[in-house]
């Protein structure tokens, strides 16, 4: 059983399970699936700075903070307690393209360590991949009013066309960055 759980789960198991989060949250207490809101609640709780956008009773949304806290612990269970003993299988075409960009580590885990490690923190790599990238995720999701969970999954599940607009924009942005921006950013970062 444990061996079974340790292998990577196929999309047709994971996708429906993620989709079931939608009715689960609705039936538990009429909560809408959404993760990026937690970032707003953290701002409201820690540094509202008298800004209108953060002046609301975040305690009423505390469930969302428990939810993301749970995701973090789940990451530990899935990634540390149930680690996949095998190296990850990555599409050969992606490996080739990333090798051309300067990535060398394809075998150590879910993230390439030549990009994501503490020693890169105070370098240009860290500035681009952690600070700049993270900022875009936080600023962009709030401007869009949601992320992959709130728009792509929750919004589309409820047949909301603005969520379709948002989801298409996420994908267009991702394609553009991957094919046009990344080669340039990787060079800038010293790869």
């Amino acid at each position: 059983m444990i061996d079974f759980l340790r292998q990577p789960w196929p999309w047709y198991v994971a996708g429906p399970l993620i989709g079931l989060t939608v009715p689960t949250l609705l039936m538990l207490g009429n909560r809408a699936f959404g993760i990026s809101s937690s970032l707003r609640h953290i701002c409201a709780a820690c540094m509202p700075a008298n800004l209108d956008f953060f002046t609301y009773d975040w305690r009423k949304e505390a469930w969302n903070l428990w939810f993301v806290g749970g995701i973090l612990v789940g990451g530990f269970v899935g990634g540390v307690l149930l680690t996949n003993p095998q190296a990850m299988t990555i599409a050969p075409a992606t490996v080739q393209a990333l090798q051309a960009l300067g990535i060398r580590d394809f075998g150590s885990g879910l993230l390439p360590t030549d990009l994501f490690n503490w020693s890169n923190l105070l370098t240009f790599k860290g500035l681009i991949f952690f600070v700049f990238g993270g900022f875009l995720v936080g600023f962009g999701t709030r401007w869009a009013g949601g992320c992959t969970s709130g728009h792509a999954i929750m919004g589309l599940s409820n047949l909301q066309w603005p969520s379709l607009v948002a989801t298409v924009s996420f994908m267009v942005g991702g394609f553009a960055m991957t094919h046009l921006g990344l080669p340039w950013l990787m060079k800038l970062a010293g790869f």
Binding site: W9, L17, N30, L82, L110, V131, F135, V172, T178
Partner: protein
């Protein structure tokens, strides 16, 4: 002494809402799925944006279909919450930010290889340095709030 005063009636419609910790458990299960389906992987996001693998499309597509079917069933059968309330989902209003902000988030998604949910799961899975990415995402949210509130 009149003991009858102590008898408190609890009407059915006023059931206690579930504790917030329950949402923590749901998050925990979701976090496990995020890691085991490898959707928190920078490589999987790269494959998706390079159209080199079906995996992420399968995950997101089947998640949306499952969610859609569930929401339709909830509406059709007028399913109530555990504490007996009506389920009402707020509609999403269109605003141009869904395009501009959506594009910016897409840029960030391709760079970091993570949307907000996976950021939390990556930290839990042992990639401690992602806490810097998360912190920066919180700063990004704060700056958006400051810009918005400034108007």
């Amino acid at each position: 002494m009149n003991t009858q005063v102590d008898v408190i009636e609890t009407p059915v419609s006023r059931k206690r809402p579930v504790g917030n910790w329950v949402y923590g458990v749901v998050g925990l299960l979701l976090g496990i799925v995020f890691v085991k389906a490898e959707i928190i992987s920078w490589f999987r996001i790269q494959e998706m944006f390079r159209l080199d693998s079906f995996h992420m499309y399968g995950v997101i597509g089947s998640a949306v279909l499952t969610g859609m079917l569930s929401v339709q069933l909830i509406k059709r059968f007028n399913v109530k919450t555990l504490d007996g309330n009506r389920i009402a989902i707020a509609p999403k209003k269109f605003k141009p930010g869904q395009i501009y902000g959506g594009l910016l988030f897409g840029f960030g998604w391709a760079i970091t290889g993570a949307c907000p949910g996976p950021l939390f799961a990556q930290i839990g899975a042992g990639f401690g340095v992602i806490s810097v990415t998360l912190l920066s995402a919180i700063v990004g949210t704060w700056v958006y709030g400051a810009v918005r509130s400034g108007k």
